[in-house]
Amino acid sequence: MALSVDKKRSGLQQRKEARQGWVFVSPWIIGFLAFTAGPLLFSLYASFTNYDITSRHDWIGTTNYRNMLFHDPLFWKSLWNTFYYVIFSVPLTTLGSLLLAVMLNRKIPGIKIYRTIFYLPSILSGVALYILWQMLLTPGTGLVNVVIGWFGVEGPAWLVDPAWTKPAIILMKLWSVGGGMLLYLASLQNVPEQLYEASEIDGAGVIRRFWHITLPMITPVLLFELITHMIGAFQIFQEGYVMSSDMNTPGSPMNSLLFFNLHMFTKAFKVFDMGYAMALAWFLFVVVIVLTIINMVLSKYWVHYEGGDNR
């Protein structure tokens, strides 16, 4: 008898506990429905309409998607610009921050100062940073070309020459690779010391040690960084908006900085072709999802999990 009362009470207790759990997470659930799930579904639906916020709202089937693929040269241009940026910036910045981390993972006098200096650029962002680099990249008197000039080479016209605008942005990004560095540094410091000692007894050199011990041990972090970095890189927008050679035409010169999201932004907020812009968004979303899945699938061939879950 007493037992069943106890049971009842603990059941009641559990239900009360559960109810409170839902109360605590409810803000997130509301936010998820209002700002993620709802918008996602609405935009998927609206991408098949000619929605313009005010007057039109008709179902037009796959017209937006067909227009995108066959009648919008800027779609291809902006897609190309974005891929160009992703393909170069993601591997280069990953490599850069990894190299920095490896170099800093030593007992060097004044290591903290180096670490602070390398990390500093990554906290500087926004319009101020882009203005700074616009000045640094000025063809005649800009610092970058002055430095290149020391080696007897004449630097390119960077942000003015359509062929050099994207390399200019990638160069700027390389300047702030220190952000990723810290993450790699943390995981490098988690590599057990015994592994190195064992390999040293076996006579392994620095490079072999890096290749066979360090690198496999940090592959999980590497994968995480590659994926989040790639997703981030596909969203490049502000650089093209702020660093355009002509302020009134974002993405200039000659649309060489017209990134995909900038094209979408123009369609949505300048000409209010919302349906079309949402079709653009969904197209890129699917591209990002597919690439992320490919990355995950391929990862089993190169990512090493210490737990032994490597299948």
Binding site: E17, A18, F24, P109, V127, L183, Q235, L284
Partner: protein, 296 residues
Amino acid sequence: MSTRMSSRMVHAHSNYYQSRKLRQRVGMAVLIAVLTALAMIILMPLWWMISTSLKSLNEIMSYPPTWIPESFHWENYRLTWSRGNFTRYTLNTLLLAGVGVITHVLSNTFIAYGFAKIKFPGRQMLFTVMLGTMMIPGFVTLIPTYIMFAKIHWVGTYLPLMVPGLFGSAYQIFLVRQFYMSIPNELIEAGKIDGASHYYIWWKIMIPLAKPAVVVIAIMTFQGAWNDFLGPLIYISKESMFNLQIGLQSFKGQETTQWHYLMAGSLIVLAPVIALFFFFQRYFIEGMNISSGTKG
């Protein structure tokens, strides 16, 4: 014989040892040289920014450029401040950042408590969904969210920039939850025995204990609000409501190639973030450690 052998061996060994030590020393010297060179390259743009902000326009345009200004034009900063509407922009940004920090700290510590310390059916599933949303790029929801705010007539106000903070952000919830997991459950049990509710425990016990995580998300949110560009760009059109980022962009349009003013303006905008970094350096690194799972 045997003693001679062993002494030769010892000799050879110490020789090997010395050459290895030498190699290590040279390696270290090369490494330091490379690091120092890289550090100079990284600092150069910042130096250039500061020195340009203090030059006269004539000196900026002259060739070859000078590393140290011939004369220091401190008035560039005063002129910049008055040429642009920086007082307004700064106040607006501080308002947005302040509200952002308060709402984010409250909502994320609250939600994370539910995910970390209360068992209920469906929790694991919700948590997985939440982690999944971190992978959704912001641009997919940008336009429909704008449409929603337009329909309820919030465009042109600060509400679209402030209200979403009340509902938490996946990354920060995850971060605080990871930190909560390292706080022993006994503390909560003890609180419950004393008759405290979960709300009381969250407010009086967990928030104070999770101070490092709270500081991390506060800094993160402040930085995010300070650098927010896209939000104000689409929701705000009145100049008097601009934040620093949009304000600086419009200042840039006004000054075009007056680099001394532009650099002074940029430095004004960057200075608080740099100061924050130096004051709270420890927490910047802490945030990275919590989220990468090195801690807790």
